[in-house]
Point group: C2
Chain length 201, copies 2
């Protein structure tokens, strides 16, 4: 048992090393997604410790329904992390474009703006996913196995941190676009639409 | 590049699968520690993107000092996660002890209380570590490479979530001890001593 815990944690080291390295990706985008994936995994655990137990049979169907949703969201968060890193790489490449002639400058500017708008999408999708996940944590707080209630609470803290983190990651892209870009105002409107269900937002 | 991102994330899957499974460990304790480790890794990244650059030479020594501290804290958070899972396993074992005779009952009760007090220590150490790490994030916000400022913010969100999560993990242990246990009041006093430097606490 001890040995397998150590192995599980050792398996995280390559990711953490890359996160800590001077390579700008993986960075905050991946960290936000992995945090959300962990929060969702904890909610799955609580469902798995509720389902199939006689004393929770009245909520069995609800727990199964939540499990299905959080499992699929977990996969979505991780595939979003890949999309995030890929989109970020495209932004980095656009920064490297030549900017000597005025034609080069204008091509670079347009390419960079496109890449930046694209790079705002994966963290926005993670924000939206987290806003959909939080009500499931609240539901599980009421119906889940009370022996693992603290895991629901930890899961919720991680989801909220994932929401706030992905918001920073959207903002950093929006802030590097011209303020009169229609995409910026559309995105900000969509973001404030999500805040209602998030504690402290 | 793309391929290696996918590999890094695939490497997290065994851990996430165990977290999501019905096995109660790894659970909230490990998730809190891994979240803190990610937050610290992001702060390391920001240091690594500040150190060695001419335009940040005035803060080079400070960034190196922060890097040394956050790296060592990252290792500490992960070894704490192992201690947390091991201590939790001992609690689970104590619950399995026979409780038929009154002697067995009293032995089980004492063993369980001991194991529970021990299990409160690793999450408390993680809380304390996080409280020490937050001022480093604040310092880095001022002196770090501004191109990766959003990574400092994400790092801070993750540290705060790690603090709140480890607090839940201490509380769940304290709440299962007799309220007049001296350990409970000592622990709560030490916990409130940490809250001052944590936003929103």
């Amino acid at each position: 048992m001890e040995r397998s815990f150590k192995l599980l944690l050792d398996g995280l080291q390559p990711y953490l090393n890359e996160l800590a390295s001077a390579a700008p990706a993986p960075g905050g985008g991946a960290a936000a997604a992995v945090t959300v994936a962990q929060g969702l995994a904890l909610l799955s655990m609580v469902c798995n410790l509720t389902i199939g137990k006689k004393r929770f049979s009245a909520v069995e169907d609800q727990a199964k329904e939540i499990l299905e949703q959080v499992s699929s969201m977990q996969a979505e968060a991780l595939s979003g992390a890949e999309a995030d890193m890929d989109a970020f790489t495209v932004v980095m490449q656009a920064y490297q474009m030549p900017a000597e002639t005025s034609e080069q400058k204008s091509t670079r500017k347009a390419t960079l703006a496109d890449a930046t708008r694209n790079a705002a999408e994966p963290p926005f999708r993670l924000m939206a996913l987290t806003a959909r996940a939080l009500p499931l944590a609240n539901q599980l707080e009421k119906i889940g196995n009370p022996n693992v209630l603290s895991d629901v609470f930890v899961g919720r803290h991680l989801l909220i941190a994932g929401y706030r983190s992905s918001k920073e990651n959207v903002e950093v892209n929006l802030n590097s676009l011209p303020p009169d870009d229609a995409f910026v105002s559309e995105m900000r409107a969509k973001m404030s639409g999500l805040a209602a269900g998030v504690p402290g937002e």
